[in-house]
Symmetry: C4
Subunit: 276 residues, 4 copies
């Protein structure tokens, strides 16, 4: 999912310049391109969203179709430019974003041939993920990095947690299928498992609800469990964030007094004052 | 949103006195005025709320109308006094609270001319925000300041989080619109996005629910995501509050390099090594 | 709500003994009495609960009535004994538990005279609060004290938080009443405020839901706010619990090296080894 | 629930080898057996789940029945091998997993004699718990141990919390039964308690909702309580996880007095003052 590194073979200067504009975020040209692209993606999303509303489609259908073609052509040009500016076009074309970029222009062209292809335009929302590049700009780098670091550091604890949650969902779901049965809406084990997830995450739609005393008791236990167990991922992420924020992950020790626990930006030991 | 500073030109003594009473919170006169105003705002809110209940309106309609006029006249006097007592009346009149103060008396007067204007009285609830001044009184200052500091310190991490949440809402909303379609209540992408927010925040009204196996699976993933991801803002705010509460953000500054942010047990400045 | 202290006038030895059994928790007699009372309260609750179920009432009505009378008589004896054993009977009789104790026997006697008085037996559930004495026994003292201490320490921050939540509820409730109106179920401002609480706490019953695009947008903002803002009380309580658990509230400093931050059970300084 | 230790009497070498394969997780044979067993349990679960879906059962009923018999026979062989390989077969047979292992093969055999016995196959989902052994493999040991340690360390605080929650549920449930009554769906105290749990845990199905102003006010209080009180278990678990993660519960014991629980930067024992 990373934009490809330019390959060793030197690119022609205009291609190198193009690459810089399209793939770099910290040059003036790159920034302008990014902002323009983000705007275009935002507009294309708006068009897709507005088109899905019946009242708007019936009134402004033609204008929206026009907009769609303009955006499609601009996106097509961008796709071709990307292909040209990278050293290894195939590796871009087969990357996640390469496929998304292609899929977000195809439906419009396909709609000329097939009816119905048009509804595939929704794929375009995936281009929204490109906007995450915005996090690479300026002062959000550190913040999003810290969040990511905390989530990465806790990913194993969270796996154990999810594993336990899914086991509870299977066991409770299967039990409710037997206890409540099809006449109360628990028509199969997958449905009962869906109900268990809806209940345990405290979403609680209420289209399927237990009716028997035993079913309600088990549901009550599941609710209290789901309500209390949320403490676990919260605790995990909080502990990591506290550690990261305070630089406890820094294991540098003072060369003179050997004490640890310095914050990552410390230059002098806070206990004996000698240089780190 | 801050009450304006008196301008440089000296005000007449009675206007300065008036200003002190109306805009200061820590003089005896100011305190009395604030308490009186809070009571009046409370009563005006009660009148608006009671008037909205059909049964009460039909029985006590006349008394409520009387109350409303009394309150409107008192609020009008207050508005005029505020205009008089500040040095630059326009800058108050155009401030957030200046506009709210005006808008909360206009509907009553407008109801003499237009029918229906009366329902705009609801704007009056915005005066409730004035009550937040109560936090400036006495011992809540420190507490609300700490909370505010924690929220401010974490605002960038929270922006990144909200940004991720909204991206998920758009992507899942658009997918559900395609998967479930209009016959199951996902009548447009905005509706599907509304459903995604209802589900991800674990509110779960249940007026729109997925019916197809694929839609239910995606909904289950969204629920577990929403259930687990709440750990992130919680972790952010907790980490900040823990730091603030423990003086990790203490304001001692180095006598030699003037940098702040030393841990409370630091003996030497971690930047320049001089003794604290 | 505290059991009264015996007054200065010396009680007769048998009354002092009675007082010890009934009001103390740490003597053998007191423990036996407490356990017996907890069992009796548990049984009386079970009788009240079972009696409310129509199917059980119609079949076992007579037995339950019998049980009820036995329990009422035992509770009456307990009440009289409590009155006798304390030095100042009136101050017990007028205390919270004194009134609860009286109210939990009156309905049964009243049912001899008035029909319908019987349903007041539900008051008996308040006797359940007596069971909290169990927390005074043995090893739960420290744990519940820590929790209580954390909640007490954060009560001002939590007040500020609740104050902000209620303001949001009033402002959003009043706005939704205007936006959605009576035809979509927001029949009065109190109803709309009830809906705002149901939504903001992520309960989401779904009997009242917004229908207009503007209403749904405001609801979405409220949901995300409610979803994210839960981080605040969580952060507050966590920060306090972390501090308490780690003895950071202890400000004792070492007499020889003057360092602080010792855990509350420390006898020797962990930095220089001298006695604290 | 632990696999039994081999008894003192020496087992025949082949039985000892069998025991090693079946009960140990860290030998090559044991790992292969575990992986095979996990796959088989996964498949058996899938068969049970698919069989509960009417559409699949009617089409693939025969194939599923075949699969079920194959799995039953394999599970039976496993059960017999387990009985053979342990020193004390009875203590395995009566252990939790011994009973689950037996119960997950019985229904298939019983279905030859009784109709209906087949639906008991759902018991098989309990075999899923065996998969928790996977946590003993490799790098998840430390992570799941930390989580477990945090939950164990906070179990008393959590008991106090659950105790308080259940008291609130009983008191509010009984009150709502009286306030709302049977005509609004609160048909008995157990039903009202079920509603209180649904509301307090913020699940909010919405099949039972208060209608009277008093009932709605009490419900609003319960919601805000439930919404805010989640901070307590979260705070408890977070505080423990933070401590564990940072080695505040480190297991270094004093060489002179053998006490544990020193903070990681301690140089001297805080109990007896001798150097660590």
């Amino acid at each position: 999912m990373d934009p490809k590194q330019p390959e060793e073979l030197p690119l022609a200067p205009w291609r190198r310049r193009l690459h810089e504009i399209i793939f770099e975020a910290d040059t003036p040209g790159g920034k302008t391109f990014d902002v323009g692209l983000f705007l275009l993606i935002g507009i294309s999303l708006l068009v897709v969203i507005l088109e899905s509303v019946a009242a708007i489609r019936s009134e402004f259908g033609d204008q929206l179709l026009q907009m769609e073609w303009i955006i499609t052509i601009l996106f097509s040009i961008e796709y071709v430019l990307r292909l040209i500016s990278v050293g290894r076009p195939m590796s871009y074309a087969l990357s996640f974003f390469g496929i998304v970029d292609l899929l977000s222009v195809l439906p419009t062209y396909a709609s000329l041939v097939f009816t119905g292809a048009h509804s595939l335009l929704v794929i375009r929302v995936l281009r929204l993920l490109r906007i995450f590049r915005v996090l690479k700009l300026g002062r959000y780098v550190g913040e999003s990095e810290q969040l990511w670091q905390a989530l990465t550091a806790s990913r194993r604890k969270i796996s154990v947690f999810l594993f336990a949650v899914l086991t509870i969902v299977v066991v409770v779901g299967a039990s409710m299928y037997v206890i409540e049965g099809e006449e109360h809406g628990f028509s199969s084990i997958p449905t009962a498992m869906y109900w268990a997830i809806v209940t345990m995450t405290t979403v609680g739609y209420g289209e399927i609800t237990p009716q028997t005393p035993l079913g309600r008791s088990l549901a009550a236990v599941l609710m209290i469990l789901g309500y209390g167990i949320i403490a676990v991922p919260t605790g995990i992420v909080t502990a990591e964030l506290t550690d990261i924020g305070r630089g406890h992950l820094n294991t540098q020790s003072c060369p003179s007094c050997a004490r640890e626990g310095h914050s990552p930006d410390a230059v002098f030991c806070r206990h004996c004052g000698s240089q780190l």
